[in-house]
Symmetry: C2
Subunit: 475 residues, 2 copies
């Protein structure tokens, strides 16, 4: 067992449990405590360090809730695999691969408002039980207490520089995004940022989207003076040969985890897309990296933006989903050329996020709480994801599964001739709500009936029981 000699300082500003927690966390992150290694029991460590057992308990709880260690029944605490941990803070060189930092979040996060059926496999549901309300409140309180009247003054149109700096660091270390704070625009949600992008890209843009796609974004583009064309997908994402046949000068893609199919775009297709964009000066790619924080299988894949060498990718992401929908903070990274247009034509649009919220978010990320929250949530979602996959084993004869590498939903495609409507109706009769892929289709797509099963907002018990009901309905 690893030497757990921790030099505790009684006169430190940090309390004892924090010192223990930080020591172990540091050892794990530095690779000195390895995955699978067993930690001393709380009782023996407490004796060894001459502290109360509850102090060690508390430190272990914190480490466990953040995904650094796990408890195995009757066996003790073990270090979790470190490649699963998202690291912030240590800024890496541009273009270096970021193998330990890839993960995925969820899409949409609409909380169903109408009377929900008993088991709702909403693909946009998220688990808010893990949100660190107390930390958020404390930062909020501190900011308001420290805050002078400056906080209540109008801020910079692109968002406060401190927040943009923090976001640029986060995006670089976690997603390989190459950008300076100057290229970032902070706004109240993706919808708003797309409205702003409309002003930057200009009117009468022809824009290409995959089919099926994220319908909310499609509706937004429809409401613009844009012509939206759909391009077919194959198993690697948007078919670039088909894209070439259109007059589109902008293509909207979700390379990390396409919604709704869950497709992860491989490097070859990404290169093709970037080559298409390089083909004409006015061409751009919009990369919506909506749920890049949660990923469970395979190697992490940096953002498309990280492979962009000619300023062709407009990168959009959101904290509304990785933290909480009510936070209403998204960000857009503009290529230099579009940044110039923004500064010329749109500089007078005030920032839509209050400076207090910007300040809270900045500290939440900068001081490591966001990283901890993500690690914790990933652990929770991975457990739900694995449970759902396991529970669905009896379905393997009659359904195929896809989109299982990340995100917060799985895609089930019937092997038989059932229609989507039949599957949904039979599930509903048993008190289970599932979602047809046709909700996300701009044009009808041929193929077998396909439904989405979201697992974000259901408890583990809910998943188990819901799947049992689905067995009754479908098998």
């Amino acid at each position: 067992m690893y030497d757990m000699t921790i030099r505790l300082q009684a006169d430190s500003e940090k309390c004892l449990y924090e010192q223990i927690y930080e020591h172990i966390r540091h050892e794990i992150r530095e690779g000195k405590l390895l995955a699978g290694e067993r930690l001393p029991s709380t009782r023996s460590l407490a004796e060894y360090l001459q502290v109360a057992r509850s102090t060690v308990d508390y430190a272990y709880d914190q480490l466990q809730s953040e995904g650094y260690i796990e408890a195995r029944a009757c066996r003790g605490y073990f270090v979790c695999p470190i490649e699963g941990l998202l690291r912030l803070g240590e800024r890496q060189q541009p273009r270096e691969s970021v193998p330990e930092k890839e993960s995925r979040a969820e899409r949409g996060a609409e909380i169903p408002t109408q009377e929900a059926p008993f088991y709702d496999f909403a693909p946009h549901g998220i688990d808010m039980s893990g949100f660190p309300f107390s930390v958020w409140k404390r930062i909020n309180r501190n900011i308001l207490n420290d805050g002078n009247s400056e906080l209540f003054a109008r801020g910079e149109p692109q968002g406060d520089y401190d927040l943009r700096l923090t976001v640029s660091r986060y995006l670089h270390s976690s997603r390989g995004v190459n950008c300076t704070p100057e290229q970032i625009i902070v706004g109240a949600g993706n919808d708003y940022l797309l409205m702003l992008l409309e002003k930057i890209l200009g009117r009468h843009v022809e824009i290409a989207m995959e089919n099926p796609t994220y319908k909310r974004t499609w509706r937004i583009f429809q409401s613009f003076a844009y012509r939206v064309v759909t391009v077919p997908m194959d198993e690697n994402g948007m078919v670039v040969d088909e894209l070439e046949k259109t007059d589109a000068r902008v293509a909207y893609v979700m390379p990390s985890h396409q919604f709704p199919t869950g497709t992860v775009m491989p490097i070859g297709r990404r290169t093709e897309l970037l080559k298409w964009a390089d083909g004409a000066e006015e061409r751009y790619l919009i990369e919506d990296d909506y749920d890049s924080e949660f990923r469970y299988r395979g190697k992490p894949i940096p953002s498309l933006q990280s492979s962009d060498e000619h300023g062709k990718v407009i990168y959009i992401g959101t904290f509304s989903k990785a933290i909480a929908p009510a936070i209403r903070v998204s960000y857009m990274v503009l290529p230099r050329k579009l940044l110039e247009i923004y500064r010329r034509d749109c500089y007078f649009y005030s920032c839509t996020v209050s400076r207090i919220d910007q300040g809270v978010l900045n500290e939440f990320i900068r001081d490591g709480y966001f990283e901890r929250h993500l690690n914790k949530m990933r652990k929770i979602y991975r457990a739900k994801h694995d449970l759902l996959l396991r529970s669905l084993e009896p379905f393997a004869g009659r359904f195929s599964f896809s989109g299982e590498h990340g995100g917060l939903h799985l895609v089930l495609t019937a092997k038989g001739n059932e229609t989507e409507e039949e599957l949904i109706a039979r599930a509903r009769k048993k008190g289970v709500k599932v979602y047809g892929i046709s909700d996300s289709c701009v044009e009808a797509v041929e193929g077998n009936a396909t439904v989405l099963l979201g697992f974000g907002s259901l408890s583990e018990q809910g998943i188990t029981e819901g799947v049992r009901k689905l067995e009754e309905a479908w098998l």
Copy 2:
């Protein structure tokens, strides 16, 4: 002297000073204590009520800071004129005149970011020293403490119903606006609401603005797929005969206090405008009621929307200015017909204001703090306004003044042949920054040199000293 028998209740949840404060406030609002009436001295009231003198001091301070009473040196405390007080809470019948509720706020509130000259008469400056930070913090803390995870979920696209209800009541009682909460859309700033309005009104709209006008809004319309035409103004505002000559189907006006001229549109011109709008089904008026909260002279004038009988007025207002720029909350009241279009075409745009901010604002208004804040600020601004007008008396031979009925700036027009540039340059040499009206002109306007003097952000001392410097520069 009025009988000050206050039945203090020792067992009340309210502390003694609050009971005294509320009693006197109630008597003033009910007209039982009349303007100019002298209050008992704090010493004699404390003796009479058998409470500590500091208790009465505290109650008087609060009443004073909210504009209910004023201290006159060596003479004691006197009741302020009640018509100056904005009342909320008592909902009135529609279309009833609202004589005691009219007031005015300020425009823009851009805080100068570059190194400012010594005396900056910024027309958009506001006085943040009066902001009740402690109340705002307390409400914020309470909301986060009481708040469950629901607060962090996505809310209604138009904004939370509770806030819309509170805003509709406030708008009705203070501005005579006739609307239901269903007609209100809450958004993160006027800029955003105008972007949303673009989607509702449709593309290729011809829109009429006064010249000079609020240049920020002009820039925003320019960035839309709109054609902006300017219409000349006379001393009553937009000239409707000239408006008739255009193809405009929408006219943007600021009837309560036009920026930058300070013109208050009289009822006759308002009727003409409404008649113009009634002339075709597709015609609408946008009423930007940006600084309706602060008004110092003449009878209060309800909003244009309150005279609208055929659903022709789109009413826009903001809390970003009456409370603080960082709050980033504006509201738009849609006529029924446009509301239908919004619900059909724009329902998918998420609300841009966080639910926490919506909750804080709702309580701030609902529980009377906003009313107190406005009363207090009006007292502060009225004092500055009167001081500036008095200080400018020596200028009367060479300048005429206008826009003196409300708002946070005065308009000075030279009687001689100086140019605007000369006036600005000569002031700047003395360390004073004044603002030329041509900054607000879309097209050049003929006439004598005109400058704006904002008094919101300067202290009383700053106003006095700044004007003295202007005397040296201009007289």
